[in-house]
């Protein structure tokens, strides 16, 4: 199913390669957009940004959005922008294009925002610490005697505390609560089990922690809503359509969950058209 290509002595899946290519193109042309003197060049690099974003949409199984974005943005909006640039700047580059406004402060603000966002993403998806602890628990569960388990875990009390702390850092995973209770129970009865040599119970408890921990880790950062407030079923494509059909499920979602927003969007388009004509139209002034 997955194709691979060979680049520089390493095997990369085609999907990864395309992702890297498209995102590099997005970032490079984004930088070109904000750094070009000539607004025409800026508009053309915006077209490249949009087209490579379309590539990313296609990689994310959204072919309809790819087509819609390419047609609306690259086809209509960029062309209109170019049209206005040609209309307004027949004399060539103006003073406004050659100077920037507070470039240092603007860049600082941009990088602060970027740093904050990337830090948040790293916080929500970084599960390396939990992974190491879960591997340790899994390895301990496969041992035979309590002494060997202790050797793998180090100090048990400290191990459980570490798992607890790693779990507390992970957000957005509803399974976390159950696992934390399990952890507390195990920790409370661990020494008792150890005293009477309850191998099976100890092993089962560790395996349970490892298993549930893996579930928590997989759900980390997915922002899944709570079980008591499930999302609408209409937007979830049925099993036989998922991955094969995009347009029909999307239409179903639009005309069930988003029926009123669709009508509002239509009204908005109408109002915007009227507004644009009313703002630019000069016929009334001439007649007056």
């Amino acid at each position: 199913m997955v194709a691979f290509i060979w680049i520089g002595g390493e095997i990369i899946s085609v999907e990864s390669f395309l992702f890297c290519a498209f995102s590099a193109l997005v970032i490079v042309s984004g930088v070109m957009l904000i750094s070009q003197h000539n607004p025409v060049h800026a508009a053309l690099s915006f077209a490249v940004v949009v087209l490579s974003t379309c590539g990313l949409f296609l990689l994310q199984a959204a072919p309809f959005l790819m087509a819609a974005t390419a047609i609306i943005y690259a086809g209509a909006i960029v062309v209109t922008f170019l049209f206005v640039i040609m209309l307004a700047q027949q004399a060539g580059l103006s003073d406004a294009d050659l100077r920037s406004r507070e470039p240092f402060l603007a860049t600082l603000a941009g990088f602060l925002v970027l740093g904050g966002l990337v830090y948040l993403i790293k916080q929500s998806f970084n599960t390396r610490e939990l992974d190491a602890l879960l591997n340790q628990a899994q390895a301990a569960a496969e041992k035979d005697s309590p002494a060997e388990m202790t050797r793998v875990l180090g100090s048990e009390d400290e191990f459980f505390l570490k798992v607890q702390r790693a779990l507390e850092k992970i957000s957005g995973s509803p399974e976390k609560v159950g696992l934390l209770n399990e952890l507390l129970n195990t920790r409370a009865s661990w020494n008792e089990w150890k005293g009477v040599n309850e191998r099976e119970k100890m092993r089962n408890a560790l395996a349970l922690i490892a298993e549930q921990g893996a579930q928590v880790r997989d759900a980390a950062g997915t922002l899944r809503p709570h079980e008591s407030q499930p999302l609408s079923e209409f937007s979830i494509p049925s099993a036989e359509l998922a991955g094969r059909e995009n347009l029909a499920p999307l239409g179903r979602s639009l005309f069930t969950d988003f029926l009123i927003p669709v009508e509002l969007a239509g009204t908005l388009l109408l109002v915007a058209t009227i507004g644009a004509i009313a703002i630019t139209g000069r016929r009334g002034e001439a007649r007056r």
């Binding site: 957009l33 990313l56 209109t80 307004a88 920037s100 494509p237 915007a272």
Partner: protein
Amino acid sequence: MIPVMSLQNYLVVGAILFALGMIGFLARRNFIVMFLSAEMMLQGVAINLVAFARHRGNLQGQAFVLFILTVAACEAAIALALILTLYRSRRSLDVSIWQDLREAGQDATVDEEPLPPPPAEPSLPKLTPAGIEPKHPEEMSHV
């Protein structure tokens, strides 16, 4: 290193696009480039929404991106109409010309950066004025 294809890669690309658009919006003076930067911020958000839609197997994210497209189209129409009107009244696309629209009680920003030097005049060939041919100095050497 083989990059892992997952949600957070797309989120980071979206964040980078958003920040780039923000820098462009804050630093550029040309109305049109400012609006292009704002549209680029919208693209960053759209990447995030589509990534979550894929990750969760739920099409609500994609539906949201369709609404973003609608709003962006309306925004472009209105913005271009406004830009044309502004351009007609002052013959320039520079935002800082419109500083008198700022909030009451705020100081006007003064440009510290000097104006760029005016473009050099194209060098035209200098022609000798027509008339009687001037006297040439006599040649000193004879062959």
